[in-house]
Amino acid sequence: MDKIFRVNMSDLSTKIEAVPSAWAGLGGRGLTSTIVAAEVPPTCHPLGENNKLVFAPGLLTGTPAANSGRLSAGAKSPLTGGIKESNAGGTAAQMLARLGIKALIIEGLPKGDAWYSLHVTKDGVTVQEETELLGKGNFAVIEALEARLGKKTGILTIGQAGELKMTAANISVKDPDSKIRSHGRGGLGAVMGSKRIKFITIDDQGAPGVKVAEPEKFKTAARTFAKALLDHPVSGEGLPTFGTNVLVNILNEAGGLPTRNFTYGQFEAHEKISGETMHDTIVERGGKPKHGCHAGCIIQCSQVYPDKEGKYVTSGFEYETIWGIGADCCVDNLDDIAVADNLMDDIGIDSIETAVMFGVAMEAGILPWGDGKGIIRLLKDEIAQGTPLGRILGGGAGSVGRAFGVTRVPVVKNQGIPAYDPRSVKGIGITYATSTMGADHTSGYTIATNILNVGGHVDPLKKEGQVELSRNLQIATAAVDSTGMCIFVAFPALDIPECLPALIDMINARFGINLTGDDVTELGKYILKTERQFNIAAGITNAHDRLPEFFTTEPVPPHNAVWDFTDEEIDEFWNF
């Protein structure tokens, strides 16, 4: 039987609880958002004793289903002030699932100044004081803990940014190569830091494992599902070859690649930071062009990027990071971007928020456009050290905008807008505006249909159809985020008819139930509405479902498009 593991940091007590029946059918985002909505007062201080940090593997995590190893983390966000779910790969999700841990809930705040670690085993959670690894970066933490507890240990950790409670701090998850995947967005690392937990280790020895109710049915569905993933050109070929960074040239061509802090839609040096160039560079230097973020990933969109001497620089080197440090900051040196990526992983700071932030910082005159070495220096000498400038930068794009009086600050609900200009790709603008998470491309990835011709085509430059597109995708994504699946299963799911039914069949076979496609849609709607209700109670209303003013007044070349949705058109989103 699955259990809830609960830790109260106020008295350092731990409990194992039965799963309430209302939570039994939930996993991943559906479960973390339900728990946060049920147990966290929406108006509480995100870094105070009433916030809770919740981890939950997905409904299929721990089964042999391909790409099902994602972990959801949830809390009230110190960045947006609203609810937050952020999911990541790595090894922790499958270990928690095999241990029968439906959710790990961390609540309360320690009284004194001591720091702690949590250790999770089949018998429960133990809380220990931690001194040795304070102030250390994530890579050092992982290295030390593997030496301390063994190579197989699962690890969730925060870097200096989380210890400093910076609102761009993330939570890092050890991946199969002892590198890092991240619960990146929304400042969840600051929540963990506020609870004075430096890391969480997981030992799954003696784990009961995940029982599948109908093994044969599961096997058949899993095979169909995996075939769909491998058959689709995006998940089967494009992503493993070029990684997500294949998008640089595509968005540049479409005029939707935000450049120089969202001033232009194209970057002159796009080719130098493109997926094609990156692929050739990795191959030439003897790196790995493909790599999975968790066991059972068959898409392998990740990669290992080495330097000129063939030495490891970074992995999980994503389009959004490369776009942000690259085009948005006008940095045309992929090696500099790779070093910055690795530093952000080590410091434990969201590479999207931080990349968007550097664009605003350049606009503010803190460093010159294109200064990749300057970015590296600021990460090391300011952010990691928690200097006053580092704290401004570590607060993300909105923080820099406020401190320096910048008006071109691309954020929604104070969260940085990622790598797709909402003026020239209008569907994603609806997602940025309406997402319960603040600006978040993954919550309703209209790029698929606006740009990539996946799931049909909706003209990115016209308003028609965008609200409906974003709504359908956000509902579907909320459901997929509950399964433990990587969001990239959406590419085959949108194009290959057998894919989604196979996914539902796997859930049914796992639990011995009979969900239909409609049930899954209803789950997605329930999640969005639950999250939205939390946000409204926290004071985030329609008036915050808006893009920053400059998108409506500054046309972006080459299409010279502006953001032209009326408030009423945007608010139609919630009409479901």
């Binding site: 689709h232 050109p233 995006v234 998940s235 070929e237 494009g238 992503l239 070859t241 070029f242 990684g243 997500t244 960074n245 294949v246 998008l247 040239n249 595509i250 061509e253 479409a254 005029g255 080719e271 997926g275 094609e276 969109c301 389009y319 959004e320 491309h441 993954t442 990835y445 790029i447 698929a448 740009i451 990539l452 011709n453 996946v454 085509h457 003209d459 990115p460 430059l461 969001i487 990239f488 590419f491 080459p558 299409h559």
Partner: protein, 74 residues
């Protein structure tokens, strides 16, 4: 007429990244695809002067044509 043709991702293998190329006036995009020996089924996205285009569309002097296989990311 002169056209700038850009190829991306796997289409570059054995071909090129960017090339100015000459075609008779009124050539449709699909002719260029055939001439480059790209299987039509592999075409994921066509962009003509930074906008999505269909294979039947006719090209004009100075056009920028970009061809992508079906790829994605995010």
């Amino acid at each position: 007429m002169q056209i700038t043709v850009k190829l991306f991702a796997t289409f570059r293998a054995g071909r090129f990244a960017v090339e100015p190329r000459t075609y008779p006036p009124g050539t449709p995009i699909v002719e260029v695809i055939r001439e480059l020996d790209i299987p039509e089924a592999q075409i994921g996205m066509i962009m003509l002067n930074n906008r999505h285009a269909e294979p039947e569309q006719e090209l004009h002097e100075g056009d920028n044509l970009s061809l992508f296989p079906l790829v994605g990311g995010g």
